[in-house]
């Protein structure tokens, strides 16, 4: 009898009291995954649900998920944005079946035509008072004492920040400004400084646990090592100026590189023989990287994450938000929304369209990020009782003026453990 598989089932106990070690069962364990959905996504966190630009008019809505919880986000007659569970109070069917659209004044469940106003209140029940029979007698209908107002889908609180819409199911989530802290807030407002326009939406299905992607986003160490485009075309290199900001709770981060002209002579990469140094590799059409400074500073790249699953990206003039959607222990979706600004002149739109080649499922830079999480997921298949080592730049989580650090990855685990109770 092979007893190995009964003996090595890992228990959900953090192996060491350090954010520099992470046990691999956290990417595999179904019970842990269920706990994440309730404690993180449905807990006291702000979850990105859409852009204000997605729903400019009364009745405009988008559907989305908060972890596993399906939601409707809709603008009501007063211009306020409401969010409620996309689940009919009657039998639990989805209320809205499209990704978005305009609901006019109400949503109606297709199953039995129960209807909801734009605040998610149950307003109408088909045949509530029964049906007149041929004998003139009314039969059926809901009981007289049925209280409609106590049977609405769960409502989420919403908040808007610089055109982003976040929602939370918990009453305990602090205001978004306090949730993020002043530094991260400033970095969001730096990019989202005026009305935007959506340029496209794409979804990437990734064969890995959602946290592996979030870690990758926060991992400033890998960027210039894994991605040749970064290294060769000087989009970002560790020898350029830059750093990483980590929020006090660890959960949010912003990494950035500063465009400086004085590192062309740096031989740090060549000296170490690292793969990404290839001086023969040039673009036949360099207009791809024709960048203009549009934020009044020298920051050419800023990647920002909001715990648990939101990312705001500025790579040169290529702007996007990304939403991390968990789909089980070993699957996730990454939902990209590319955007520009409403006042972009045509040449800026063209510039953004070209630079969008850098990101997304086919991105010259982002492509590897799509597969590397799957390589980890497969690599750790038999290693649930082993740990990963996250010690670059020490074992702390404070902001650092270098990107040769894993401080913001450790920050994620600091926030994760606090919220998960580990």
């Amino acid at each position: 009898m092979d007893i190995r598989h009964t003996e090595t089932i890992p228990s959900p106990i953090w192996p060491e009291d350090s954010v520099a070690r992470v046990p691999y069962w956290v990417y595999q364990d179904p019970a842990n995954y269920a706990r994440e959905l309730s404690r993180l996504f449905e807990g006291p966190t702000w979850n990105y649900v859409c852009l204000e630009a997605d729903i400019p008019n009364k009745g405009d809505f988008r559907t989305n998920v908060v972890g596993a919880l399906p939601v409707i986000v809709v603008r009501d007659a007063d211009g306020a944005i409401n969010c409620f569970e996309n689940r009919c109070a009657h039998r639990g069917a989805l209320i809205a079946l499209d990704d978005g659209g305009n609901a006019a004044n109400n949503f109606k469940c297709i199953y039995h035509a129960w209807s909801y106003d734009l605040c998610g209140n149950l307003r109408g029940i088909a045949f509530e008072r029964g049906i007149n029979g041929p004998d003139g007698v009314v039969r059926g209908g809901m009981p007289r004492d049925f209280k409609r107002e106590t049977f609405s889908p769960r409502k989420l609180r919403t908040t808007t920040l610089a055109g982003l819409v976040f929602a939370t199911l918990s009453d305990d989530t602090p205001p978004i400004e306090a949730y993020l802290g002043a530094e991260i807030l400033g970095r969001i407002r730096r990019v989202l400084n005026r009305p935007i326009k959506v340029m496209g939406r794409f979804t990437q299905a990734l064969p890995n646990n959602w946290k592996l992607y979030v870690e990758n986003v926060k991992d400033t160490y890998h960027a210039s090592l894994l991605h040749l485009f970064f290294g060769t075309f000087r989009i970002t290199r560790l020898t350029q100026g830059g750093g990483v900001l980590v929020s006090p709770d660890g959960g949010h981060h912003a990494s950035y590189t500063i465009d400086k002209a004085d590192d062309r002579q740096s031989t740090a990469y060549r000296d170490q023989g690292i793969r990404t140094e290839d001086k023969d590799y040039t673009l036949a059409d360099p207009s791809l990287l024709d960048t203009v400074k549009e934020f009044g500073d020298d920051i050419q790249l800023q990647i920002l994450s909001v715990f648990p699953g939101f990312i705001l990206q500025q790579i040169h003039n290529c702007l996007a938000v990304r939403q991390v959607v968990p789909c089980g222990t070993d699957r996730m979706e990454l939902r990209w929304t590319y955007f520009g600004f409403a006042d972009d002149p045509p040449e800026m739109t063209t510039r953004r369209l070209k630079q969008q080649n850098l990101v997304g499922p086919a991105g010259f830079v982002s492509m590897e990020d799509g597969c590397v999480g799957g390589f980890v997921q497969r690599g750790i298949a038999a290693a649930g009782d082993q740990v990963s080592v996250i010690e670059m730049g020490g074992d702390t989580t404070e902001s650092q003026a270098t990107r040769a650090t894993e401080a913001s990855v450790r920050g994620f685990w600091k926030a994760y453990r606090a919220r998960m109770g580990y």
Binding site: D99, V198, M199, G200, R201, F202, T203, Q204, A205, L206, P207, L226, L228, F229, T232, D278, Y281, L283, A284, D285, S287, L288, E333, Y338, T349, T350, L353, K354, Q356, N357, G360, P361, A362, G363, F364, M367, E368, G370, C371, G374
Partner: protein, 154 residues
Amino acid sequence: MDVGPLVSLNAAYARAIDNEQFEQWPELFHEACLYKVTTAENVAHGLEAGVMYADSRAMLRDRVSALRKANIYERQRYRHIVGLPVVLGERDGAAEVETPFLIVRIMRGGAMDVFATGCYRDKVRPDAVGALRFVERIAVCDGGRFDTLVAIPF
């Protein structure tokens, strides 16, 4: 325009990609061209972005050199099944053509899965020596969900 030359052009296109002769792929376009991979939903909403976007043959060549030298991904190749072209009209000397496609992706591990289906929306015109070439090829995918990554062009 006769359908015959269009079928030949599409066959050469699919063969170049499926046989991993990627360097031949940009040569099927005019120097000034537009190539884009997007989704039916983005097109329906008038959203311009693509997962791939090139407005010159040189940018297509850059895609190929990135594929060869820069990007890291697990070994894979495509099998294109390209349907019959429908000529919708002619404008400025270019035929406007729609052609359905299906791409099966063959992965290192041996899986042969439908990776994408959609419709090529093309503008096609002969070059200086009379060879039919793409002025524009927009690969409009039927769905908006791409598995893991898109390394090879559609």
